[in-house]
């Protein structure tokens, strides 16, 4: 097991957002976490790489406990893709991707840029390497941010609603990049409502509600025959919103 999330609780003051969430991810596996908003999905992802410190519970990557002491080292192995991209605003696409390898992996500038170029090609952004974030569309920015994640050669990539800040016509390019990664065997944990992506690329869907994991299973089962009423209701809701592709 590559990623082992054990009994994560997270409370903000009196409000408990996560009430004991456990989850595992095998190498090369892709899991999609779904559920109503305010359910703690993003908080869970942020607790895994400790962008938010969990109130209790442990996360192990490849058997190593992730804690404050080793966090910077562990984060290099757990990439994170943000909902709103968060590309470094003062750098062009190439240098955004080269930053990590250069500053953290000790690569020389030329080597780092070479690696960045490879990753940008992988997400289809090789023609925009000189562009700055403000000159790119949301979908393009998100693809660059995925390349930035890949350039760290992480063990696993966490995606926090990678398409929900995008205009509908731009989600496709990001989803197809993610599908390719899944089929290449990149290990991914994805918070997303893209059912089409989940169905085609995920090994399992994890359904969360109210701070708990309600149900988990293969996409075909979850989508066509959810056991839990709440899962069914949620799927009907997002289907009604026309998000099913």
């Amino acid at each position: 097991m590559l990623l082992d999330v054990r009994d994560i609780h997270k409370a903000y003051k009196d409000v408990e957002v996560l009430k004991g969430v456990s989850l595992t991810l095998e190498r090369s596996e892709t899991k999609v976490i779904m559920g109503p908003s305010g359910t703690g999905k993003s908080t869970l992802l942020r607790c895994i790489n400790r962008l938010t410190a969990p109130s209790s519970g442990e996360v192990y990557l490849d058997g190593t406990l992730i804690e404050e002491r080793n966090i910077n080292e562990m984060r290099q192995k757990i990439a994170f893709v943000f909902q709103d991209f968060n590309l470094f605003l003062h750098l062009n696409a190439l240098d955004n991707v080269a930053m990590g390898p250069m500053r953290l992996k000790g690569l020389k500038r030329a080597q780092a840029r070479e690696r960045a170029m490879q990753e940008l090609r992988r997400v289809g952004m090789q023609d925009h390497v000189e562009s700055y974030p403000a000159q790119l569309s949301g979908g393009q920015q998100q693809r660059v941010s995925i390349a930035r994640a890949l350039a760290m050669k992480p063990e696993v990539i966490l995606f926090d609603e990678p398409t929900s800040a995008l205009d509908p016509e731009l989600t496709g390019e990001v989803v197809s990049v993610m599908q390719n990664l899944a089929s290449e065997g990149v290990t991914m944990l994805v918070v997303s409502h893209e059912i089409g992506f989940a169905r085609r690329a995920a090994d399992a869907i994890v359904f969360m509600e109210g701070g708990y994991v309600v149900e988990e299973g293969p996409p075909a089962d979850i989508v066509s025959a959810p056991r839990e009423v709440r899962t069914r209701e949620f799927l009907q809701l997002i289907a009604a919103e026309g998000q099913v592709s």
């Binding site: 562990m74 990439a79 709103d84 968060n86 470094f88 003062h90 930053m99």
Partner: protein, 220 residues
């Protein structure tokens, strides 16, 4: 025409002190920027004590007149055995004073950077200091240039206060010329023109820097 003749005769005397004025200015700016960055970092990311120390420093130096600070350093400190020559005392006073203001400009600029920038830097495994150096500061320094230009120009003018502790800079030269010729009107007009030209050049240079370093696609 009379003024031009006056200017031609006395401008060289004033400009002879230009290196002193510019020297004070450049050194004070360097001290101010370096210390200002440290103070800003202390207020932004320091523990309680660092925060308190930085804040106190800033409040004290912003809350007292530059002239008082300069007198304190040049005339006050010797009483406890710390002696500076006038030039050094002036550089220190202007530098320390400017640090308090520059710290607040830096801090404001860093705080104006979207939160996600820090999060993204931390998420690839940078320490807070690495994130500050590689991601936040490069953006904050660009944003701070307009305010920083004002500060640089203020400091250039503040160098004239060093006259009060006997630094032979442009203003003191002008005053001497005034007493020698009794053409106070002309000499201070001339001096004012010199300062306007200097500050204009500085403003222009910083404006060019601002444009050269602007991030493509981002409107200020």
């Amino acid at each position: 025409m009379e003024f031009l003749a006056f200017a031609r005769e006395h401008l060289p005397t004033i400009l002879a002190a230009l290196p002193v004025t510019l020297g004070m200015w450049v050194l004070a700016i360097i001290i101010g920027a370096g210390l200002g960055l440290l103070l800003a970092t202390g207020r932004l990311y320091g523990g309680r004590i660092t925060y308190a120390l930085s804040t106190t420093y800033i409040e004290v130096f912003r809350g007292t007149p530059m002239l008082v600070q300069m007198f304190f350093i040049y005339l006050g400190l010797p009483e406890i055995g710390i002696v500076f020559d006038p030039f050094t005392a002036a550089v220190i006073a202007i530098g320390l004073n400017s640090a308090a203001y520059q710290a607040e400009y830096f801090r404001g600029a860093v705080r104006s950077i979207p939160q996600g920038q820090m999060a993204a830097a931390r998420a690839i495994g940078m320490t807070r200091m690495q994130a500050l150096r590689n991601v936040l500061l490069p953006q904050a320094l660009r944003r701070v240039i307009p305010q920083w230009s004002n500060e640089a120009i203020l400091e250039l003018k503040y160098t004239s206060i060093a006259y009060a502790i006997g630094v032979s800079e442009m203003t003191s030269r002008a005053e001497q010329i005034g007493y020698k010729t009794f053409h106070f009107f002309e000499v201070f007009l001339l001096l004012a023109i010199v300062y306007v030209v200097l500050t204009g050049v500085v403003a222009q240079i910083l404006h060019v820097i601002e444009q050269k370093t602007s991030i493509p696609g981002v409107n200020r």
